[in-house]
């Protein structure tokens, strides 16, 4: 078998395997798709009454908020490998580090894209959200934010000492990131101190990125897109380092 074909085949095997693992335990995915849809339908009248861009806020706010909650999907997909001791089992196979990491993260990435796409789709079909003339920008924005979430979730899973740790960090992080980022209340309506520190939240940049994409404003996407990518790269590098070397034998799991 050629030196190119074999790694591709192995990566494909791993992607299929990890996708199968996720789909056999779909409760988190269902939950994080259903909850933002319910929330945006309930909140839309309020946002439309209060804001000129009420529909956009009603869709993108819950979408960003629950995409951060979905960090736990990524985290859990890695955490279970620690609990089941299967990651080391994969590490002693012929599959290289890159193949293992792609096989593990690509399915999680696809699930994150699926979640955001469904929420946006429902926003368009039911709430009347207008899509931009250039849908490629929106796809790009979702992909960048999905990458950022993937890297954040992976990094969290490699340092969390238990499933409880991961759950707490995911939940508190999701509330903090989405609240500070303007997913619940637009940043312009938040108190002054909150507006001042909003940019430390990845959710702030995600909201800016996705709302710019919905407006079809590619230039406005550059800065938030770069910030999201930088956050993703930083956490992704850390997660890659940890995943490639395993967790050792001194951990709780």
């Amino acid at each position: 078998m050629s030196t190119i074909t074999a790694p591709v085949l192995r990566t494909g095997l791993l992607v299929r395997h990890n996708l199968m693992l996720r789909l056999r335990d779909p409760s988190q995915i269902i939950s994080y798709v259903a909850m933002p849809i319910v929330l945006m339908m309930v909140l839309k009248p309020l946002y439309v009454e209060a804001l000129d861009s009420g529909t956009v806020q009603a869709v993108t706010g819950p979408m960003v908020m629950f995409s951060v909650f979905a960090l736990s999907i990524v985290g859990n997909s890695i955490m279970v490998e620690r609990e089941w001791r299967t990651w080391d089992r994969l590490r002693v196979t012929r599959a290289g580090r890159t193949e293992l990491l792609l096989g593990k993260t690509l399915p999680a990435f696809l699930i994150l894209l699926f979640q955001q796409s469904v929420v946006l789709g429902v926003g368009c079909a039911v709430l009347g959200l207008e899509l931009p003339d250039v849908p490629g920008l929106l796809v790009l924005a979702i992909a960048i934010w999905g990458f950022t979430l993937l890297c954040l979730g992976s990094a969290l899973a490699t340092v969390a000492r238990s499933r409880g740790d991961l759950s707490v960090v995911s939940d508190l992080g999701a509330i903090g990131v989405s609240a500070l980022g303007g997913a619940l209340v637009p940043v312009s309506l938040m108190p002054g101190w909150a507006q001042a520190i909003a940019p430390i939240s990845p959710g702030y940049w995600a909201m800016s990125l996705i709302q710019a994409a919905l407006a079809g404003d590619g230039a406005a996407m550059v800065r938030p897109g770069l910030v999201c990518l930088a956050i993703g790269l930083a956490f992704g590098t850390f997660a890659t380092y940890r995943l490639a070397r395993g967790w050792g034998r001194s951990r709780l799991l």
Binding site: A6, R10, W84, T86, D88, R89, L90, R91, R249
Partner: protein
């Protein structure tokens, strides 16, 4: 079979198993190393204050089964982790077929000490996944799965998720994952721990078969009877290094048995000896008292295991052999 000689030394003993002198493992002849599939030398590994490996040497040839024995904490699992490339040693070298292990993982099959299976994934899917990762495709993969399932008595459970298997079935699946691609080097870390007799039998037969086909096997266990069934060479690990090596029969031959004579006046004498019959005859010839009972106890595998645990420690002083009252 190894050309190593056992390194246990004679030592007097009381009722407790006989102690043995710590002794260095003899170096392999150069010719013996030349065809080694696994060659490990001078491995050291430290976890903080704990010295897990302290100069671990081991050579295994194709077709050879080496039973790695030793108490918990002796360094067996760390050794397996290093050889399989999971952790890096602080010092020392590992060569598999003359090359470093990491780029040649296809040569290795590892069954870790703890169950490491995906609960929602069936036995067949496990075997297909790991067989596929090892390079098996389509018909070759299907036939490998069927054949191995039959060998390990898993055919009836092929489509059952691992989480619904019994402990023994999980053990066999775990071993199957290591065996599916017919590796040239098998690292089996306590593969029968907690297993039922059926599982043990299936695993031993399969391992013996793979060794007969030329695979080199490192088999860690606390059950010496399994190693005698496998006709394995024993390598005794203690404090992170191999302190003795030989077949069970060779090691037993160097262990002391015990001769006990009871006399009519209620006195008794006990002598530990590697020649129970000769010692008994000498004691009987020398004594002037009336002997009421004679007990000659030869060392068994339990004695061997306990004596192995004492390797490397200063043996307790025993009474001189052979002098009757």
């Amino acid at each position: 079979m190894s050309s190593n000689r056992p390194t246990l030394a004679r030592e007097p003993a009381t009722r407790t198993p006989p102690a043995v002198h710590p002794a260095p493992v003899p170096a392999e002849a150069d010719g013996a190393r030349a065809d080694a599939l696994l060659e490990v030398s001078g491995l050291t590994k430290r976890y903080g204050e704990v010295q897990a490996l302290g100069g671990f040497d081991l050579t295994v040839r194709p077709g050879e089964i080496v039973g790695l024995v030793g108490h918990n904490g002796a360094g067996k699992t760390t050794f397996v982790d290093v050889v399989s490339g999971l952790i890096r040693p602080d010092e020392g070298t590992v060569l598999i077929a003359g090359r470093p292990p990491v780029p040649h993982r296809h040569l290795i099959g590892v069954s870790p000490q703890h169950i490491a299976l995906y609960p929602s994934v069936t036995v067949r899917e496990h075997l297909k996944l790991f067989g596929g990762l090892a390079g098996l495709r389509r018909r070759a993969l299907r036939s490998a799965v069927e054949e191995l399932a039959e060998d390990l008595r898993l055919t009836a459970f092929l489509d059952r998720p691992a989480g619904l298997l019994s402990g023994g079935q999980q053990r066999r699946t775990q071993a199957g994952v290591a065996l599916i691609h017919r590796p040239r080097l098998l690292l089996l870390d306590e593969p029968t721990a907690g297993a039922d007799p059926e599982t043990r039998q299936a695993l031993l037969e399969t391992v013996r078969g793979r060794a007969a086909e030329g695979a080199a096997v490192v088999y860690t266990t606390h059950y010496l009877t399994e190693l005698t069934e496998l006709e394995a060479t024993l390598a005794v690990a203690k404090a992170g290094r191999v302190v003795a090596r030989g077949t069970a029969a060779e090691l037993l031959a160097d262990l002391s048995g015990e001769v006990v004579l009871e006399f009519a006046d209620g006195e008794e004498i006990r002598r530990s000896t590697t020649d129970p019959t000769g010692t008994l005859m000498r004691l009987l010839a020398e004594t002037t008292h009336t002997v009421t009972s004679v007990d000659v106890r030869k060392p068994d595998l339990d004695d061997l295991y306990r004596s192995l645990a004492m390797l490397g420690e200063v043996p307790a002083a025993g009474p001189p052999e052979g002098e009757a009252p």
